[in-house]
Structure formats: structure tokens, C-alpha cells
């Protein structure tokens, strides 16, 4: 070809136009999350008009405490979902964690702190086992964690056949303490957000997202899938253990069957917040919004004062409307910009 082409470097100028398009697609890509935020705002607004004193720290403290166990469980679940997996075993881990806390916590605060640390580490170790089984046996995470869920629940039931055991008062006081009207739960929420902001930016955080987005590509770039599995499920186990510890500050007891209550809601919170079950997309902030939506719906149904049989219907319908709205808005946003 004899023709001289314009200098390719010129196309660098094109990047400015790119950037504008970039911003609009950025918005579309985050539509599920953004609209989840919008829905939460709408729900809170409705709630606020129906009940007095909603816009107070007291309300924030209460709602955060109500959502926190789910939030911690959902944090781990979010990490696993981002990797394109799922962790049902958090149900067993939460049960086991509360049971261990109820039976092993005793003595001085220092001893309790040590025991709590051990429970957290145990959660991590159990998660690592999940990751190992998934990698080594090359089985679906659904099946592996279904099995370990059962094993962990069984272990919890062997230690405590029914709810029981008493947590030390200072432990529970610690969980419900407040400073200047802000409870430790809200503090924990802030920590959780900080953790996520940090974690998302780390190399591991990127590797997890990459593996969930396209495992083969990640592998080609040198990511060790085994390591990612060990760490994601490990973190999920760790957060399940933390959820268990937090839960004991609210219930003051060990509960060998309580964990199952958090399995589906943890996935639901993440999905409402914009996480795809196919991995790679979304983040923890969305999950937090999702968990709060689920909690606020409960409050809303209470203040709406509907008769008992209608309560599940109303909560289901609110959930559906919330998600439907975001799905529709996302669809139309995508269409108008494509």
C-alpha cells in the first residue's frame, strides 16, 4: 500500500470523546446499584413519614444493629459472589460460631478476646477448606458448601443440642455500647465500608473480580485459581464467624440452628445491591444498601400496621416493586444510551 495514513498518534485525541461515553456507560453499568440506593431512599422517606423520629441517630443505631449480622454474612457472600461462586456453608458457620462463643467464652475480657479471635480464625480455616474442596475435587461450590453447611450445623448441634449458654455481660455491653449517641454497630458499619474501600483496591480484590469476570482470562494472566478459591471462601468463612460473634452480642446465647436464616438473605442482599450471580460485577456498598432495604421493609410493614396475614404479602410486594423498578430503569437507561 502506498497510501500514507494519518498518524495513528492522532487517534489519541479520540480519547476525550471516549471519556464522555465512558461516564455514561459508567452510570449504566452501575444502574442496579444506583437505583437500589434510590429505592432505599424512597423506602426510608415513606418510612419517615409514617413514623416519628426516623431521622435520628437512635433509628440509625437500631436499624444498623438489626442489619449488622446479615451485613457481615453478606460481606463474605459478596466476595464469593464476585468470584463467581456461592457459599451456603455460612449458615453452618454462623451457628457453630455462636455455639462456640456461648460455650467457650468465660473468664477475663482478655480470654474472651482470645477465644473470639480463635473463632474468627476457625471461620477462615473452614472457608479455606471449602475453597480447597472446590478446587481439588473440581465440584460446584453449591454442592460443596451445601455439604459443609450440613457438617458445620451438625457440629454445632453436637456441641449444643438446643439454644443455650450465656455470654458474659461485658461482651454484650460491648456490642451495644454507644459513644455520643452513635452505637458500636454504626462504628462497625463504618469499619466495614472502610474495609471494602481498601479491599476493593488491593491486588487481591482485583484478582477476585477478574476471576469472577472471566476465570480463563485471569488464569492466562497468571492468577492461581486455587489461591483465589482458598482466599475468597476463607474470607467468607471469616466474615461468617464475625457475623456469629456480632449475633451473640445481640442474643447473648449460642444457637445451633440460627445460621440458616442468613443464607438466602445474604445472597438476596447482594443481588438487590446489584451483584451478578455470574461474578465479576458489583460491590459491597450495594450489598449494604440491599441489606438495609431488607431491614427497612420489615419496619415499613410494621408501621403500615397491616393485618398479620397480609404482612408477608406486603413485604414481598415491596421487595418486588423495589427490584422491578431498578430492573426497568436499568433496562431503559441501557436502551436510551445504546
Amino acid at each position: 500500500m502506498t497510501m500514507t495514513l494519518p498518524s495513528p498518534a492522532k487517534s489519541v485525541a479520540k480519547r476525550d470523546g471516549d471519556a464522555a461515553r465512558d461516564r455514561s456507560t459508567w452510570l449504566i453499568d452501575r444502574a442496579p446499584f444506583l437505583i437500589a440506593c434510590g429505592m432505599l431512599a424512597v423506602l426510608v422517606a415513606i418510612y419517615g413519614t409514617l413514623r416519628e423520629g426516623v431521622f435520628t441517630f437512635e433509628e440509625l443505631n437500631l436499624d444498623t444493629a438489626a442489619a449488622m449480622t446479615l451485613l457481615l454474612a453478606a460481606t463474605g457472600q459478596t466476595i464469593v459472589l464476585l468470584r463467581g461462586g456461592i457459599d451456603l456453608s455460612i449458615g453452618g458457620m454462623i451457628s457453630l460460631g455462636t455455639v462456640l462463643a456461648a460455650t467457650q467464652f468465660g473468664g477475663s475480657p482478655l480470654q474472651v478476646a482470645f477465644a473470639a479471635l480463635m473463632i474468627a480464625l476457625l471461620g477462615f480455616a473452614i472457608g479455606v477448606c471449602n475453597g480447597l474442596l472446590i478446587s481439588v475435587l473440581r465440584l460446584q461450590p453449591f454442592l460443596v458448601t451445601l455439604a459443609t453447611w450440613s457438617i458445620l450445623s451438625g457440629t454445632a448441634l453436637m456441641i449444643l443440642p438446643t439454644d443455650g449458654g450465656q455470654l458474659p455481660d461485658f461482651w454484650m455491653a460491648f456490642g451495644n455500647a454507644s459513644l455520643l449517641g452513635v452505637s458500636s454497630s454504626v462504628g462497625l458499619l463504618v469499619l466495614l465500608i472502610l474495609f471494602w474501600v481498601w479491599f476493593r483496591g488491593t491486588r487481591l480484590g482485583i484478582e477476585i473480580r477478574a476471576t469472577g469476570s472471566n476465570q480463563r482470562s485471569a488464569e492466562l494472566s497468571g492468577v492461581s485459581i486455587l489461591r483465589i478459591n482458598l482466599l475468597t471462601y476463607g474470607l467468607s468463612g471469616l466474615f461468617a464467624a464475625l457475623a456469629a460473634l456480632y449475633l451473640t452480642t445481640q442474643t447473648g446465647t449460642g444457637s445451633p440452628t440460627i445460621g440458616k436464616d442468613y443464607i438466602l438473605p445474604s445472597v438476596a442482599a447482594a443481588v438487590i445491591g446489584g451483584i451478578s450471580l455470574f461474578g465479576g460485577r458489583g460491590g459491597m456498598i450495594g450489598t449494604i444498601v440491599g441489606a438495609f432495604i431488607l431491614t427497612i421493609i420489615g419496619n415499613l410493614v410494621f408501621v403500615l400496621s397491616v393485618s398479620s396475614y397480609w404482612q408477608p404479602v406486603v413485604s414481598g410486594v415491596i421487595l418486588l416493586i423495589a427490584v422491578l423498578a431498578s430492573s426497568l430503569a436499568e433496562k431503559s437507561a441501557r436502551r436510551s444510551l445504546s
Partner: protein, 331 residues
């Protein structure tokens, strides 16, 4: 004074952790009926809050209830201990808290329940008598992790232990539902060519059905006073049963207790309040362990109703108000 108290209408919340079975349905309906007539008519503004069978949801719901400052909260609890800190908060806020059916251990709340010591003891005693102190039995363990299940199982085993000739050859989890009861007994029947009695925590009729399906002879069965159980025992040839009662009107009793406490300001002597329903059996039975336990003989039309729904729990009504079968079943 009394007159003043009469005039006052109390705001009472009933927090129920689970709606998904017939017993809870009847319990809620009976609660509503008992504040709409009889001595409590017009006295109570009753609100029922159901949650989806999770402790967390019940804690959240209780927190909402506490914030609306009712006079009393009645709780059918999802856990006997995990709600304690929340209940303590309610008590501290001056609210009368009565736990019923599945009660809690929190000392500030009253615990109104069936006598979970007496019921299994009397029924196990009946079983031992049926077997002549010798034979192989299956025992239902109820629902894993549930305190009442543990209490019933322990009650059965404690009495059976006194009869060296009786051997517990298998246990299953009946989960208070017909399907699991029937499937559990069926599995055990496969493993054990011989069985002489079955102590369920649920219907008992599921066990009888499993025996029939497997082509076995009908052995003595222990169950609870559901209409379907009473009917199955009465109608099945050769069936021998005793049925313990956990009346669904525990809720009415809890409301009454709450109103009494609120009216009089007087607290019952005991935190634990036991409600004793009559046993039903296929033949007269006199307990030696609990001589005051009453056993009625099952009689169609009197305490078993072919026209009423099978899921109805008997007895239907407490003695201080009249609740009809139709009202209890909502039909």
C-alpha cells in the same frame, strides 16, 4: 379501682415467629376470637405480628413493637434464649411480657406453657402399660435444636428407662409435620422387622399411616391432640393411642394473664404458668405418675370431629370463654 380498670383498653402485641402450620393459625385465630367476646370483649386492642421463622426477624419485630409502647407483649418465641436481651429491654420499658407455647428463659417474662414434664411422662407410662413393660419402640425427636423437642424426648426416655424390657430401637425427626413423621417411621420400619410401639411428638396418625403402608400390624402410638389424630385413632381398626394436648388457646390464656396483670397490678406467684389440657386415649387410662391427669376416651362427635378440618387442635376452648370449632377453624 376496679371500675377504672374495666374501662381501660389495653394495647397488646402478639409476636409470633412462625405462621406456617395449623397450630399457629388456630392459636392466632383463637386469640382474636377471645378478645372479641366474653370477659375480654372490648378490653384489648390486639395486634399480631408474624415473622418469617427467623430469630433475627423476631428481634427486629420486637424492637419495633417496643418502640410503639404497648401495654403488653405476648411472644411465641423462635428461641428460648436468643430473644432474652430484647425481652429485657421490653421489661425495662415497663411492658408486661408473657412468653407462651415456646417460652423464653428471661426471668422478667412470664412463661405460659403446657407441662412438658407431665405430658411425655404420662404418655410414656401409658405406652409401657400397653406393652406390658416389654418391647421395642421408636421415638420421635421432633425438630433438631428445638427446646420442646428436647424436653419431650427426654421425658419419654426418662420414663421408658424405668422399664428394662423396653428398648428404644430407633429415633427419627418428625418435625411436627405429617410428611417427615410418615417418612421417618417408614425408614425405621425398614430397618427394624419388629416394633411394638411408637412415641411421636407430632400427629401419630402419620405413624399409623406408615404402618399401614408397610403392611405392618398397628402398634400402640403416642401423639398429640389433632383432630386428624383423634379420628385416625378412633377409626383405624386395632389402633391404640394416647394423645397429649398442647392447646392452641395458650394465646387466649396469655392474653387473659396479661389483662389480669395489667388490671390488678398483681403478679402471679410463679413465673411459670402451666396449662393442662386433657389427654385423649382410645381406652380409659389412669396415670400413676400424675394421678390428677385427666384422660378422656376418644369419641367421635364429642372430641373428634369428622366434619372439622383434620388440622384442628383439641381441646378448642378454655373454660372462661366459649370458642366454637367453627370459630377455631375459621370456617
Amino acid at each position: 379501682g376496679h371500675a377504672e380498670a374495666e374501662a381501660k383498653k389495653y394495647k397488646i402485641y402478639l409476636s409470633n415467629n412462625f405462621v406456617g402450620n395449623d397450630w399457629r393459625q388456630q392459636m392466632e385465630r383463637v386469640a382474636n376470637v377471645s378478645v372479641s367476646k366474653g370477659p375480654l370483649e372490648g378490653r384489648v386492642d390486639l395486634k399480631i405480628e408474624n415473622v418469617e421463622n427467623t430469630v433475627q426477624a423476631q428481634i427486629n419485630s420486637l424492637n419495633n413493637i417496643i418502640r410503639s409502647k404497648p401495654d403488653a407483649i405476648l411472644i411465641d418465641a423462635g428461641s428460648d434464649t436468643a430473644l432474652n436481651p430484647t425481652i429485657k429491654k421490653a421489661c425495662d420499658a415497663g411492658i408486661v411480657v408473657i412468653s407462651f407455647d415456646q417460652v423464653v428463659t428471661e426471668p422478667c417474662a412470664y412463661a405460659l406453657e403446657s407441662d412438658w414434664k407431665r405430658i411425655p411422662a404420662v404418655m410414656a407410662e401409658w405406652m409401657a402399660q400397653q406393652l406390658g413393660g416389654k418391647g421395642k419402640v421408636f421415638v420421635d425427636r421432633g425438630l433438631a435444636g428445638a427446646p420442646i423437642s428436647a424436653a419431650l424426648e427426654k421425658g419419654y426416655l426418662d420414663v421408658l428407662k424405668k422399664y428394662p424390657g423396653i428398648e428404644v430401637v430407633g429415633s427419627y425427626n418428625g418435625e411436627y409435620a405429617l410428611g417427615p413423621e410418615q417418612a421417618g417411621v417408614a425408614s425405621l420400619l425398614a430397618a427394624h422387622p419388629q416394633v411394638d410401639g411408637i412415641l411421636t411428638q407430632g400427629y401419630g396418625s402419620g405413624a399409623i399411616k406408615a404402618l399401614q403402608d408397610a403392611g405392618r400390624t398397628i402398634v400402640p402410638v403416642v401423639g398429640f391432640t389433632y383432630n386428624s389424630s383423634a379420628l385416625a385413632c378412633a377409626k383405624t381398626e386395632g389402633a391404640k393411642c394416647i394423645l397429649g394436648s398442647n392447646p392452641a388457646y395458650l394465646s387466649s390464656e396469655a392474653i387473659k394473664l396479661a389483662v389480669d396483670i395489667l388490671d390488678t397490678g398483681k403478679k402471679p406467684a410463679e413465673r411459670h404458668v402451666l396449662v393442662n389440657g386433657d389427654f385423649l386415649a382410645t381406652a380409659p387410662f389412669k396415670s400413676e405418675l400424675y394421678p390428677d391427669a385427666v384422660t378422656q376416651v376418644i369419641e367421635i362427635g364429642k372430641n373428634a370431629f369428622p366434619d372439622a378440618p383434620p388440622g384442628l387442635t383439641l381441646p378448642i376452648t378454655p373454660d372462661w370463654v366459649t370458642i366454637t370449632a367453627a370459630e377455631a377453624s375459621g370456617s
